[in-house]
Symmetry: C2
Subunit: 357 residues, 2 copies
């Protein structure tokens, strides 16, 4: 029990979106309080957190006061500015650690790290200008994808190059930001592993989920994924290798491509992950509680799956389907309390559950 | 969809204990905000509700402001003073309705109501003084239990009379409050049915749970309960009859004694109920969400059970077992965020889940 955060302690969460909201609820269930730091007003976590600080990441006084009011700090997204993290880390432990954040914030660092521990990624090369892009295309070939090395999510900051003639337009889309050219990976499916590592180094992984993206945004995750037994084992071992190499504490999402030649790591997210939402209705301990357990020094929960689940994101106007979904049997609805349903905005999700055959 | 409370609406909850806390979380999951009204400071719901009003039920201005800030009002306990309810009801709908509250607030009204719709209760008689107690004992016999007609819970306000010589002491324990003498029911087990009725009159019931009380406080609930098929059906039909007779909207807990002669209704609670906590880890839609669905005019959720569950209350120092329970597989822990573990105080519960055989 020595390392377990005492009941009633406060967990600070950087970011107040739906992930922060669901982390707050999980923390409450384990007897903790949460304070959320979020630059934008009235974020989803507001409704379920004990306290929300609305301030930019450049406000040192607000960051300091936030840190002093909490016992440990975690985050729901990976793009917190470095200076803010430096200040926060001087005051309270940040879990997962800075290295995991640094690696995941930069696509080149990430791929270098993954390659360095013996994992397979898409072929990649750094691109700063026309000359390096030409060189990268000569090496990697087309089709390929040019991405900003930092701050990309949900398909933003990306440009496909189907033919070398499209290179100048793609480069222009980067708006001068450092970029990386990634070769196309021919995959049969996309899966992700949601894995956790505790304060004492134990690792637990959920059954891999099979993901379908539409327009660059996750649409559905299905468990069980269509994987061979050896692919399933590889996926979990590979995730464990990543967590151990980073001395990671918390939940991580690891996105993988399944190819005839084996598993290729697409990207890692040092946080709870949209493709792990199915665990809310398929496991005794879901990814949000698992993350809080790790961050609070608890033993990890049992991640075994007691049901088959299809998670579907409710994006934009999809939320209008809620009254119909509410009539389905075995459909668990999770809404994020967002006032306005803009196109592409994640409004909630539904977990459709059935017992394993 | 017409009757469904719009997303972002505010549900007012009277009472901020653990039931209010878990209702707040369920409301958030369905996209609603919650305001909690609670006389005592820093109640468990504080950590997960958007707003908590700390004021006594005699504060008309606070009640009025609370009602004006919400769209519908529900409650987590049944002893809200009548004057407060009168004021609140003049401003916003209260669900479940006042009749359900009135009936459950008074043990004699409750038993009159239950008998009136053809259900079996323990033999009972009103007791105001020594003379009526003598008369009641002559009619019902000893052993029997004397209970205050109002404001009893968790074994408080009750005195056993094993022999008529104990009558004066038992009467003294009532401290002059109106009381009811209830005959002992010889039962083989105690079960409860958690049932719900929606705004359009549909009824859904969870599988009955088998309860074990220790020292007048619920200790464990086990599903499935040991019941014959006909007892199981009777239990559910009987609960439905109660809900329909009250034109009820929301979740109700119906406690039953199983006797060789059939089911005897012990008492009803017009709210989510401790013996329904197992639904959090045994059903796609738990009792808290089911209550919010009813109150918010949603279709009721599917209450079918996908797992066997034993719910154990963590009372007082039981909470010290949490680190050990955290290492169990298939144990879902729910803590209430209470700072101090006093004897008899419900600190949390654990749902131990296994797949049905």
């Amino acid at each position: 029990m020595s390392d377990m955060l005492p009941p009633g302690s406060v967990i600070g969460i950087l970011g107040g979106g739906q992930l922060g909201r669901m982390l707050s609820v999980a923390a409450a269930r384990l007897g903790y309080r949460t304070h959320v730091y979020e630059p934008s007003a009235n974020p989803p976590a507001t409704h379920v957190a004990e306290k929300v600080v609305t301030a930019p990441y450049e406000d040192a006084a607000a960051l300091r006061a936030f840190a002093e009011g909490v016992d440990v700090i975690t985050y729901e997204f990976e793009n917190v500015p470095t200076a803010a993290l430096d200040l926060l880390e001087s005051l309270r432990p940040i879990r997962p650690n800075r290295r995991a954040l640094a690696v995941s914030q930069d696509r080149i660092l990430e791929k270098d790290f993954l390659s360095g521990i013996g994992l397979t990624t898409a072929p990649y090369a750094a691109v700063d200008d026309e000359a390096t892009l030409d060189e990268a295309l000569a090496h990697i070939g087309a089709p390929a994808i040019l991405k900003t090395t930092r701050l990309g999510y949900d398909g933003k900051g990306q440009a496909r190059i189907m033919d070398r003639s499209e290179a100048p337009a793609a480069l222009a889309e980067m708006r001068g930001a450092p970029a990386v050219l990634e070769g196309f990976v021919t995959f049969t499916r996309e899966v992700s592993v949601i894995a956790a590592r505790g304060l004492t180094g134990e690792v637990a992984a959920y059954d891999p989920g099979e993901n379908v993206h539409l327009g660059g945004i996750l649409s559905t995750t299905t468990v069980p994924a269509t994987l061979s037994a050896s692919e399933r084992t590889d996926a979990v071992l590979l995730a464990a290798r990543i967590l151990n190499a980073l001395d990671y504490v918390g939940v991580m999402g690891v996105e993988l491509f399944v190819t005839p030649g084996g598993l290729v790591v697409n990207e890692i997210a040092p946080r709870v992950h949209n493709s792990g939402h199915w665990t809310q209705n398929g496991c005794a301990v879901d990814q949000f509680e698992q993350h809080i357990r790790a961050v609070a020094g608890w033993p990890l929960g049992d991640g075994s799956r007691h049901a088959d689940v299809v998670m579907e994101n409710l994006i934009g106007d999809d939320v209008l389907k809620v009254p119909a979904i509410a009539r389905e049997t075995n459909a668990a609805i999770h809404l994020y309390g967002k006032a306005e349903a803009r196109p592409g905005r994640k409004m909630g999700h539904v977990n459709r559950v059935r017992k394993p055959a």
